[in-house]
Amino acid sequence: MQTFKNNSAAAIVLTIADRIVENRAYLSEIDGKIGDGDHGVNMAKGFGMAAEQLKGQDTTLGQAFEVLGNVLMDEIGGSMGPLYGVMFTEFADKLKGHDDVDPKVFSSMLHAGLEGIQSIGSAKVGDKTLLDALVPAIEAFDGAIAASRSFDSALDALVEAAETGRDSTLNLVAKIGRSARLGERSLGVLDAGATSCAIILKEISIAAKSRLH
């Protein structure tokens, strides 16, 4: 059974933060087409602040997620602050006490994050939100494991499903948040939340894969 170490894996959060900061302008731009154009800016600010706090610290992935979740929750505001804040806090909670992360722990982590988001937001799959990337990604991961595929192959499935889910938001009409006022005019534009979620899931997966043994 493939696993990766929870210990000393805080670098995973740093690489996620790097990607988010890199994509700051892109995320704001796609957000600006149907939202207020601040998604990249606020995400970069939160992830950047968390990275500052984590740099040079030798913490577990769980502890790093907790720092990230708290920063997002306490400092960012908006809707992404609480939503991603609760997701990473829940991730941290599920990793507690696990030295080795196996597919089961990883899956329970993803599910806890999803449930946290659903406890404060009212979106469903198809509403053109980050759930359109997150939910199919979790399903693909669980499906691959159930089909006895390896951890790394399941992570590939997760990334692929997240990106397919992200792309599916192109053809969705926003049902929630500010872009929901646009109705049909939100068609043809990616959802910024689904896009950032796909970035996050991809970075976690790549980093986890490289640490599997």
């Binding site: 149907i34 601040d38 606020n42 306490d74 960012i76 505001g77 908006g78 609480p82 500010r178 006022r181």
Partner: protein
Amino acid sequence: MTVKQAQPRKNVSSKDNPSEPFDAMPLRYGDDPYVWACWLYYEDGMTQGDIAEAMGISRATVNSYLAEARERGIVNISIEPARLASLTVAQELKRHFGLVDCLVVPSDDKARSLIERLGGAGAQALQRLLKSGDTIAVAWGRTVLSIGERALAPGLQDVTVVQATGGTRASFGYTPELCASSIADAVGGKLINISAPAIVSSNDIRDMFMREPLIESQFQTLARANKALFGISSLRPNSTIHTSGFFESVSLQDYLARNAVGVVAGRFIDGHGRAISGPLDERTIGISLEMLKNIELRIAVAGGFDKVPAILAMLRGGYANVLITDAATARGILNADGVPEIDQRGAHRGRVDSLPAASKTTQRIYTKKFLNNPDRVVDELLEGIVKSHVHLLHPIDKSHRALVARNGPRSGKVGLVIGGGAGHEPGFYGYVGKGLADAVAIGNIFSSPPPGPILRCTEAASGGEGVLFVYGNYAGDVMNFEMAAEMAEAKGIPVRTVLTTDDIASSPLEDREGRRGVAGNLFIFKVAGAACDLGFSLAKCETLTRKANDRTYTVGVALEPCSMPQTRRHNFDIGPDDIEFGMGIHGEPGVVREKMMTADAITDRVMDRIFSEMKPAAGDQVAVLVNSFGATPLMELYILFRRVEQRLNAKGVTIVANWVGHYCTSLDMVGASISILHLDDELTVLLNHPCDSVTLKMS
């Protein structure tokens, strides 16, 4: 054929033209900006830069219009000769007599009679020129009736049509009563007749009539008219004036002997347009020539070669500033006034130089802003606010993300906490102070504050009677404020929330609770702050605030996007000639995108939408807020306010308080919103309650 050099065009829009570019496209071009652009370019020899200025659009758009016009064959097919002649002559009439506009119908249309064609043209003009809230005086005549039979101006509100003269016996088919009522029917206006004969038997009888309260009130309406529609009668032997019955009781010889050449609204004028006094003056009940000239927009419709002297006299007298006539008559008028033959002018001025290909607009990508570190914009903003308003506000903690009113919270009073993203200055710190909010939580640009500062505000505002949260209905704000509310409840502070939902364009009435909160917040904060300051219970404060929210109606219109300090790029696109109705205060794209139109047309669109929900009755009272989105200057806000006042006034609604300025902005967005608070006695008291904050001060 005389070919006259093209005049350099210094006054493309004459100074007494009350309208702006583009929507103010002169009538003669119909509704087609391509034709207009082509005309200015090919026929007038204007440069593309001058055309851009004249049309109120970008140079790049002019270029693309010309290119597309060529592609579409608009300029390859030569302009139909009759229409070309009409356009030329209309333009010359406008210039020569200093008219606001002029419409000339081709003369060689054999299919319809002149009266029918003038009626059609007049109907078209009326549709363009008549606006909601107008009072139009309508005189009598065959042409006026022909307009009434063809006009259709749907969608107008509060139009009053007032008969310009007294009545006549119905021995002819176009009595003053019938003319006014046909126009009123056509435009859906309220009809005010003059309940008196046009001409009575003596001066005494006239005076008696004029003293009657009913007639007096009808004349008051007539005096309020801002538009007039009338024909012109000639006094030639074949004129219908002799058979109309209008002047049946007197001989016209007196007037002819004094060189009368025409009749305008029942009054005689000479060849120079001067009023001719005569025996009828003291016996006529109707609009005087002086009253007529005081009306802002005066539309004369007349044609036929026999009327040339009469129309010329009318124009010389300045009785009309819009003329609708036919090409033959128009040429006759110009010839009679010494203007050289202009028939074929311009036909040989076609350009031979080729057009540059439509170039892509070279837009600057980054906007200029006063910045130090883009990531510290909000912190630096808050530092400035705290230092500037040190006597009113102080920060609860070092971050300045939670500010409390120095003279706000007190024991025994319900606390009021407001908040939201930065970028809306003076939203929302401007509404913190005595009689208003006790504390404000401030987020990042266009982004809700996190729960932490909201909680600190709640604790600071709490006076033991609970705390009311009032903030705009946005998903992010709701999440963060709800978390803060839970935390406050856990600390024993009861919290009630009112989400503001005044943006009526953001969702249909059925989904009223899903609407977002925008500039109308000002009214809702004001009412909530007063209720708290008066020492009402938390439940009562909540009820009153909810009522203020239910009775506040806002619609915003964006002209240009805003740009975020971090990116310094526009965060949405809007076409060079487009505007957007229903724009939110974060630059969320609006609900309907339209072509640029006049300030009044925009205001009318907004007010119609507001009225459709507010359903005001005469005698109602309101408060009005005309708010800039950031980059729209006060000058334009007052132009909007002026029209808002006209529309409310036309409905008999009184404005008891108004605010015009920057009250809830969206960074540097160009645009404005109009908010109306539909008052009742209870809300009026709360609105007038004293307060002292950065933005609102009332004593």
